[in-house]
Every structure is written in C-alpha cells, then in structure tokens.
C-alpha cells in the first residue's frame, strides 16, 4: 500500500440496537477495507475512497441507506446521496431517487458530469432528483446500476414499516412522534 491515506466512515447518528452491534461494526470495517483495497491503482483518490466506502455501507441491510433503507409512507425506498471534493470544490448529489442500488455512485456521476465542459455552455447540475435522476443513471455507462424498486426493500425495513405504519393510525399519536424520532437511524 503505497499511498498515504486516511479513511473514516459512520453508520449514522441515532439509535443502533445492541443486538445488531456486531453486524454494524462488521459493515463499517468492510467499508474501510474496501476503500483501502484500491490504493496504488491509477484511479486511487480520496473521492474514490469515499465513493467505495459509502457504496459498501449502502449494501448492508442494517444501515439506513441503499438496501435496507427506511421506507416511505407508501412502503417504498427513496434515497439521497452526496459527494464533494475538497481540492476542486466539485459536488454531486441525488435526491428522492428510487431503484438505484448505490446512490453514492450516481452522485459521483453527477459530480464527474459537472466537471465536463459543456460545448453549448449548459450549466451542469449540482443535484438531480427522483425520475430525472433515474433517467440520468440510464444515460451514464458506468454509474450506479438500476434495480427493481422491490429489491431495495429488506425484510427488516418492511417489518419496521408495518409496525409504525399501523401506529400512525392509532388514537394516541403523541406517543408515536416521541418514539418514532428515536429509532430513525
């Protein structure tokens, strides 16, 4: 490992159940190792390390991103992701996008697209959302590949959604808002 690098990841600030502590730590360790695994290659950079680490975390069902995300009111997965370079100040993000396996890779494609000069002087986007972001993914050869909407719904996320969805209709709404906030990440 020739390059001189540092990497750090987080699995969210919130409420991590003790019974999943081991799985969550393993997910974080895998992400750091994956980010360090490409060092020495010509694509090695802080941006690629961040993209690799976050995409590894998105694949873990115990974390609220990508596969295993919290579900919307309608029981679907919609994700947000962003990436930024300190040297260039370049930024790319996607919002409320469905059916994308690794949203961070799509955000990186938005960032890379913004650094390509437009022949007609078009101002590149900072952020793409929803269906537009999905269409952009279709047009990008190497970015986050599209998957079926259902494939991002994990059994655990669906179970949690059922429990809380029916509580939304319960008469004692005050108890819901207090606890719902406590289990968000």
């Amino acid at each position: 490992m020739s390059d001189n690098v540092y990497i750090a990841v987080h699995g969210g600030a919130g409420f991590h159940e003790r019974k999943y502590e081991k799985e969550i730590k393993h997910a974080l360790q895998r992400a750091c190792k994956f980010a360090l695994s490409n060092l020495g290659s010509k694509h090695s950079s802080a941006l690629t390390m961040v993209e690799d680490a976050v995409s590894s975390l998105e694949d873990d069902e115990h974390l609220n991103a990508g596969y295993g995300s919290n579900l919307t009111l309608h029981g679907t997965v919609e994700c947000d992701a962003a990436i930024m370079s300190g040297k260039s100040g370049c930024f790319g993000s996607v919002g409320a996008v469905a059916g994308i396996k690794n949203p961070i890779r799509l955000a990186r494609s938005v960032l890379d697209y913004s650094s390509i000069p437009s022949p007609i002087g078009r101002i590149p986007p900072l952020t793409l959302v929803s269906e537009g972001a999905r269409q952009f993914a279709l047009s990008q050869p190497s970015s986050a590949h599209l998957v079926s909407l259902e494939s991002l719904v994990s059994p655990k996320a669906e179970e949690r959604w059922r429990v809380w969805k029916c509580r939304v209709t319960s008469p004692d709404l005050s108890s819901l808002s207090k606890h719902l906030n406590d289990i968000q990440d």
């Binding site: 990841v9 600030a13 919307t72 679907t76 992701a81 962003a82 260039s88 929803s130 968000q184």
Partner: protein, 158 residues
C-alpha cells in the same frame, strides 16, 4: 444515514453521505444527504494561513440540518476571517457550531432536542490527520483506518 470522509495525497480531502431518510417520510421528501452544504463538506484552503483542511459527513434530522446548512457552516468555521477561525482546537469549533448555532436555531423553531451527528476529519500543518465525532443522539457508529495503520477500528460510541 451513512457517510465517509477521506484524505489522499493525490487529491486531498473528500466527503460523502447517503441516506434512506426518515421512516414513513412523504414520497419526494429529500433530507440533508441530497442538499449542497448540508450533509457533507470538504475544503482545502489555498494555504495554511487561510485555515484548516477539513471534510465532514453529517447525519440526523434532515430538515433542521438543511435549515442550518450545517456542513458548510462547519467548513466556514475552519476558515480564517469568514469563520473567525484563529487556529483554535477543532473540539472548540465543533462545540461552537453545534451548540451556539445549530442547537439555538432548532430551539428557536421549537425543536428542543434535535438529532445530529458529525464525523469530521482535519489535517494539521504538520500533515497529521485527526478524526473528530460529535453527536446528540443515543449513539453513533464509526470506523477508521489509514495507510500507516490499515487495521480498521470500529466502535459504536454511546
């Protein structure tokens, strides 16, 4: 929400964040992980005199983090002049931004206990990188490694 911060000798600092958002959120709702200056920030001052190289990734109640433009606010706090940064300890900077600015803004909007977690990587003039973590929630899960010490340390801070 998940995130990463990194420093590489080829391109300096970078930051990222990704989130499935709030449970039972309205379809179409976006959180801090989609918004410029809110969920992640990375900067490299022109020279050490201008401030500190930093990268941060943020998690928590998206609506309040967006209102506070929290990630960019943290970046400005490490710039000379703009953020009245005069070399003080990153712990002080974190405390000032989270307590004085973010917390006060949330309280002003009737949110007594906003959830927020920050993972921050700074690099001193001597080249050493330092990692910081601040959170108002019951816990925050982090892991870190370097080329010099590739054995990954993972911990759930409570």
């Amino acid at each position: 929400t998940v995130g990463a911060v990194a420093w590489h000798e080829s391109d300096g600092m970078a930051a990222g964040v990704s989130s499935g958002g709030l449970l039972l959120k309205y379809p179409g709702r976006i959180g801090e992980a989609a918004v410029f200056g809110a969920g992640c920030w990375a900067q490299e001052p022109f020279d050490a005199e201008q401030g500190t190289e930093m990268a941060c990734s943020i998690s928590g109640t998206g609506e309040y983090i967006i209102r506070a433009m929290l990630a960019r606010k943290l970046g400005e706090a490490f710039e000379k002049g703009a953020g009245n940064f005069d070399g003080d300890d990153p712990h002080e900077v974190l405390h000032r931004v989270l307590n004085d600015q973010f917390w006060r803004m949330c309280r002003g909007r009737g949110e007594p206990n906003p959830s927020v977690g920050v993972l921050l990587l700074t690099r001193e003039n001597d080249g050493r990188a330092r990692l910081w973590c601040a959170f108002t929630t019951p816990n925050m899960a982090i892991a870190y490694a370097s080329s010099k010490d590739p054995k990954v340390k993972a911990v759930i801070l409570r």
